[in-house]
């Protein structure tokens, strides 16, 4: 495959309204109940109007993998997501602290770490993306994100030069 890097969930903070429908949708798909505590994507709000949803960013040199004392975390070669070996994971939560983005949850239900897996078994793709009313969520690789930022910079420059 010619694509550089793995796709992960990205949120545009200028579009995010903080509605948290992504949290409701994720938790429903994962647990069959609406329970944001179990949502693997979480909205951060800094009142009154800074907000953004954050899910696992598929770090290249993932601190969670390094931190795990039982080597229970590995990276999928298929889509780059973090895989939790539930036989090895004892729910210690070291990975939760190691993650720079707070993207790992420790489930009291399963007693294991849970991380965004991009919902490979959902036909239409991650429901957080489908349910986001403002299309603030998308799937993108870091390279595609960089391309977008570069395009925006040039577009702004051209506006200013007019």
């Amino acid at each position: 495959m010619g694509e550089i890097g793995y796709k992960h969930i990205v949120c545009d903070p200028t579009l995010c309204t903080g509605c948290r429908l992504c949290e409701y949708a994720c938790s429903m798909v994962k647990t069959r109940s609406f329970d944001p505590n179990y949502s693997r994507i979480r909205v951060v709000r800094i009142e009154p109007y800074a907000m953004m949803a954050i899910a696992c960013r598929l770090c290249e040199d993932a601190p969670c993998i390094l931190a795990c004392p039982r080597d229970a975390l590995t990276r999928s070669e298929v889509n780059g997501t973090m895989l939790v070996n539930t036989d090895k994971c004892d729910g210690c939560g070291w990975c939760v602290e190691a993650c720079d983005f707070g993207a790992i949850i420790l489930s009291p239900e399963s007693k294991h770490a849970e991380i965004c897996d991009l919902c490979p078994d959902v036909q239409d793709g991650p429901p957080c993306v489908s349910f986001c009313p403002k299309e603030a969520l998308s799937l993108a690789t870091p390279e595609v994100l960089r391309q977008q930022v570069r395009r925006d910079v040039v577009a702004r420059l051209m506006e200013e030069l007019k």
Partner: protein
């Protein structure tokens, strides 16, 4: 149970005792939640004739059926009590994260009675109730209080409903704020303050299950997509402030205490101007795909730093109605009201009344504590809002609302005290909207556009808005019933145009969520039932037909200029429409509810309390 929990938490703040009331699906299905359930709880738990600011008044919270699910605009709750402003039912709505947490903590409703010996924060942590000392938060604004409590408990999952200084000082139109949304009108903030409850904090750890998860996910995803289309266009782009130019264009924008109905600075305080020059972001309540909250910020000048989610009603009340022609000023005034915990609508109309008193020499500068309270004087308005919130000096008089204040001041000031039943009037001048005039007069909440919804009839041109005619009664009843259904479910009214067949679609979604069978007919019946329930409460508290009326200005002062020039209402016109409305409702000519009607509406116990025999002559006439 699905969605619902079937449990109501009763809290007595005098004794600090709590108990759990179980409710059945049959009971819940009759009222759905929100305003319907809250009103029922008030009716059942508040003794007739009680003092609204006394310990016996039950402050009731009731969740929406869809709270915490992906049902768009369903994460909302209702609050009700006997209103200290009107003496009648004081129902109000709010939403967002507090509603979600209430459900996740395991509660469909709260009933709070008594009076705490000391100021308290009630912390409901799932099924554990703690009473925390509120002293550190006294005097703080609504937003600061919420943040401080969250920090003290140390968890951002703690959501808080708080009163500001206005509620602490029992200002009759004080509000409750949660998550930046307001339980705004009728003074529930004062009821909370009278119980010495500074805030209600809630944290819920449970998930919410629904009866048909796949069906609900599919149906709600579809609605979320539709909610990005033309049905919600107005709310998403300009928000409700777009009403300013609309109402100005047709000559019904209340200006300078309803003395005029066109405003020379309308463009400067319009939704368009807000969008162009002050807009920062559009925000949403929890679970809302529309995002109608148009946040405006002032980036320079005297009020630099002021910012608020702007809505039409406080905008008109503190803006054109007070002669304020500058958007930064209005942003500052609305933010101030929210933070002090004052209903912006009532505060604005109280201020404008006082301004007209000053204009006419009915109140002197000395009587206004030396404040030069002229129309358009923003600094004077800010000083006065602070005085009101603290009942300082003349603020004590103004904190009573225009009805009581004008009764005390006399000198003909009641002529322009713009209220009905004590609730200050909304931003649509009724002299140019004659169906709406009747809608406001008969509304159980008082002069409330939101419960009446009948301005749509006049503005859309279905009827001639400058005259009265037959059939208005049924039209106003239909809009009221529809508004009521939305208030009971709860669904935000801004989604109302996104359904193919509202009754069929929503009844289906209700069943998918709750597992309770509800037909479209049963859904429709809730609207009529709860409208009658609210009316029954008012009758019990002493309502008579004389309360369904409007201020003298509406009759005696024709609109002086603009498209509505010359328009005014006559008592004959209003009586004609009110008669028509009572007939449409199946009530007696005095506006009382026949026993049989209440029984038909499944309110047999209420029939015992206040139902009357329908006079035979009127039964025959009522068939027409």
């Amino acid at each position: 149970m699905h969605a619902y929990t079937g449990k109501i938490l009763h809290i007595d703040v005098t004794t600090r005792k709590t108990r759990v009331e179980q409710v059945t699906p049959e009971f819940l299905k009759r009222y759905l939640g929100g305003v319907g359930l809250a009103t029922r709880l008030v009716y059942d738990n508040t003794p007739a004739g009680c003092d609204p600011l006394g310990p016996d008044n039950a402050l009731c919270f009731a969740n929406g059926a869809f709270a915490g699910t992906t049902m768009p605009v369903g994460t909302k709750h209702g609050v009700a009590a006997k209103s200290p402003l009107t003496g009648m039912i004081g129902d109000s709505l709010s939403g967002s994260q507090f509603s979600e947490m209430l459900r996740r903590a395991g509660w469909d409703g709260l009933v709070i009675k008594g009076q705490s010996p000391s100021w308290v924060v009630i912390f409901i942590d799932d099924d554990e109730v703690r009473f925390l000392d509120a002293t550190p938060y006294l005097g703080k604004g609504t937003i600061t209080t919420q943040e401080a409590i969250r920090e003290a408990i140390g968890d951002e999952n703690v959501r808080v409903s708080a009163i500001g200084p206005a509620g602490e000082n029992l200002v009759r139109y004080a509000l409750i704020d949660n998550d930046g949304r307001q339980v705004g009108r009728t003074g529930n903030g004062a009821v909370m303050g009278s119980k010495r409850i500074k805030a209600l904090a809630i944290r819920g750890s449970h998930g919410i299950t629904v009866a048909d998860p796949d069906g609900l996910m599919e149906a709600t995803l579809k609605l979320i997509k539709v909610a990005q289309g033309p049905g919600t266009l107005k709310y998403r782009v300009l928000g409700t402030p777009s009403n300013v130019l609309n109402m100005n264009a047709i000559g019904v924008l209340p200006t300078r205490n309803f003395q005029e109905t066109v405003f020379d600075h309308a463009e400067d305080v319009s939704g368009e101007r807000l969008h162009e020059q002050y807009h920062v972001k559009s925000l949403a309540c929890a679970g809302c795909p529309i995002a109608c909250e148009q946040w405006g910020a002032v980036r320079e000048g005297k009020y630099k730093g002021a910012r608020i989610g702007m809505d039409y009603e406080p905008l008109f009340a503190l803006g054109p109605n007070c002669g304020m022609g500058s958007m930064p000023v209005i942003i500052k005034l609305v933010q101030t009201c929210d933070d002090l915990g004052l209903d912006g609508m009532s505060a604005g109309v109280v201020l404008s009344w006082a301004m007209e008193c000053y204009q006419r020499g009915i109140l002197s500068k000395e009587e206004l504590d030396g404040v030069d309270l002229q129309f358009g004087n923003d600094e004077a308005a800010l000083i006065m809002l602070d005085k009101i919130a603290h009942r300082d000096g003349v603020g004590d008089l103004l904190a009573e609302g225009v009805k009581r204040a004008s009764a005390r001041v006399g000198k003909g000031s009641d002529h322009f005290a713009m209220h009905s039943k004590g609730l200050e009037m909304p931003g649509y001048d009724v002299r140019g909207l004659k169906t709406f005039a009747m809608g406001l007069a008969v509304c159980t909440r008082g002069a409330c556009h939101n419960r009446a919804l009948s301005y749509e009839i006049d503005i859309k041109g279905k009827v001639d808005r400058f005259t009265v005619g037959p059939g208005r009664g049924k039209m106003a009843m239909d809009t009221e019933n529809f508004a009521c259904i939305l208030d009971c479910l709860v669904l935000c009214k801004f989604l109302r145009n996104c359904f193919d067949d509202f009754n069929v679609d929503v009844a289906r979604i209700y069943t998918m969520a709750t597992g309770i069978d509800l037909s479209p007919e049963e859904l429709v019946a809730v609207g009529e039932r709860v409208c009658n329930l609210k009316k029954a409460f008012n009758i019990r508290e002493g309502w008579t037909r004389a309360d369904d009326w409007l201020p003298p200005r509406v009759f005696e002062d024709p609109i002086p200029s603009g498209p509505g020039k010359g328009a005014h209402l006559t008592p004959d016109e209003l009586n004609y429409e009110i008669d028509d409305y009572y007939r449409a409702r199946g009530w007696t000519p005095e506006g009382l509810i026949p026993r049989q009607k209440l029984i038909e509406l499944d309110l047999a116990d209420i029939a015992e309390d206040i139902g009357v025999e329908m006079p035979i002559a009127n039964v025959a006439a009522g068939e027409g």
